[in-house]
Symmetry: C2
Subunit: 337 residues, 2 copies
């Protein structure tokens, strides 16, 4: 079997690059010491994120295609959260020398398809391939603000509506289905598992939110409560989430919750759905705040409001969530909790 | 002892970021979903490169500071090789959960010092920290062409002079000193070992070369012969290196070569110096071609000329180097040969 070691770094890279799409923003593409990318308004947005085998994914659950897709999706969601349009990515891949070239090609296909589907015109413009003990995927994503101001976490104002675009808790529910080893349940809810494996961040809504006058926005990667607390801290406000507005998000997770709650030692189905929706990471949805007068773009759902800062960064209805309970709900990529 | 696991991802990142310098090109720095960087001429240069523990470095030889320094140096050398000025970096770090926070702080100090020393005004503007089995450092570097055309590998013209700025073979010699286990020799030649651990690419000469009319340029990361062959292939020319112009580069490596050649089974001192200079990677020097009429910037040394393309991409004097011999000299980061 052809592996990246038997083929060598340069030939393997060439094989991969040949499967990528060409972006609309490249002046110089892959193959030289560096790429050259257009930044028409004289600025660019840049963010980096890493996926590590065994910590962020397992090869028994994720194909090369899935991982290429997810690496793109999770990074361009950060670009979208700035109100920018994704333009160009560079991808550093570390993989065991025994990795089949076929896997690498599958990974490249995932990169390409995610770019073309989620952010047409965006492409991988450079990369690096190195050997290591486990697969590590480090992506740096770039975006164009198209003369708009960047949308920060710090702009939320008291009285703003809090809204979310995309799924809430599906990625976490999908992960727990995979971890349960209950393959029947995972098959029955494959649409939910798919959100974990191939997230579909609402990338185009980042720009729409900016045009609609969004005051703060971020990519929901570590869970609603934890990420809402980040906006609250940066904006010096508190955020009050209306639990009745979460019912719809919880309802779609009832099936997997019921399937998993029968395992001894698991939480009840009600606890599972609530924790997934409030604490589940990796949905890569957009959490945003809009002035009361704004016309919130279709695709966002209002789930709460911005209130005066008090002791708790986030309230669920009238119940303040303590910092400890928010930490317990959220996800830390180093500790894995 | 405080580790990144005991402190958590966010607190560890904050601790690191507080040690970094602020760059001249940031509109939005670390702390949001993404940074926003100036691209005054409406374009930016971008490149990514990875360092993997056990493959690219050993923790017994390199401190956190060394690795931060080297990660910056090796990446901004690629930016310089485009004729650009380094402006902004993002750094993704994977490290075992047991890694001391002290190591991370030391790493951040290395990032900062390399930026300030090698490319004043350039800074780390974002990053990511994740847990993994081994340390992986993935850096993406950006640069500003300041309205100049990017310098590609493909512009070399027959009749051009071939010149190098920076060291040749010192990084490889330093590596072999470390691998030899001969600590006396490594200490005696600590200036050569230092080139391996903390390379000093001639970053400012990238812009100077561009202003002087350089026709092709690259960062010497995989060895003179292999990288010269890349310019030759991209430019559809051959490159003739004058062995008499390499004597000075070989002479400074004679001490370590003599110290290592006494080991049974090693090459002769003469073979060692020749192979280091022709095949040694990681000097991160600049290899460039200049028109005969150009005033080559001080800091570059002419070592050969561009000739008509023939069967061999690189000639050493009148001796053509076969593709196989070039491969045998050079460095492949996947196979490690």
């Amino acid at each position: 079997m052809e592996t990246i070691a038997s083929l060598g770094e340069n030939a393997s890279l060439k094989r991969t690059i040949s499967r990528l799409n060409k972006g609309d923003h490249e002046l110089v593409g892959p193959g030289d010491d560096a790429a050259v990318i257009k930044a028409t308004d004289g600025r660019y947005v840049v963010t980096t994120d890493t996926m590590v085998e065994g910590h962020d994914f397992k090869l028994e659950w994720s194909s090369g295609f899935d991982l290429g897709w997810k690496a793109v999706a999770s990074n361009i969601a950060d670009v979208a959260a700035m109100g920018a349009v994704p333009t160009a990515l560079v991808v550093a891949l570390v993989a065991p020398a025994s990795t089949p070239v076929k896997w690498l090609e599958d990974f490249a296909d995932g990169l390409r398809e995610a770019c073309q589907t989620l952010a047409p015109g965006c492409a991988v413009v450079g990369g690096d391939l190195a050997a290591g003990a486990q697969i590590v995927i480090a992506v740096t994503a770039h975006g164009d603000l198209e003369n708009r101001e960047p949308v920060l976490r710090s702009g939320a104002q008291v009285g703003d509506s809090v809204a979310v675009a995309g799924t809430l808790g599906k990625a976490a529910s999908g992960l727990q289905l995979l971890f349960s080893g209950n393959t029947d349940a995972a098959k029955s809810y494959d649409e939910i598992v798919a959100v974990q494996l191939r997230p579909q961040p609402p990338v185009a809504l980042g720009k729409e939110a900016a045009l609609a006058g969004v005051t703060a926005m971020l990519d929901l990667s570590d869970g609603l409560a934890k990420d809402a607390a980040r906006i609250a801290a940066a904006s010096e406000v508190s955020i009050q989430i209306d639990p009745s507005q979460l019912i719809g998000f919880e309802a779609v997770l009832e099936g997997p919750a019921q399937a998993l709650a029968i395992n001894p030692g698991t939480q009840t189905a009600e606890e599972l759905t609530r924790n997934w929706v409030l604490g589940g990471g990796e949905d890569h949805s957009l959490l945003a705040t809009f002035p009361a007068a704004a016309t919130i773009p279709r695709g966002f759902k209002v789930i709460g409001k911005v209130v005066q800062q008090d002791q708790a960064a986030v309230h669920l209805g009238v119940t303040p969530l303590s910092a400890a309970s928010i930490d317990a709900l959220g996800w830390d990529s180093v500790t894995g909790n």
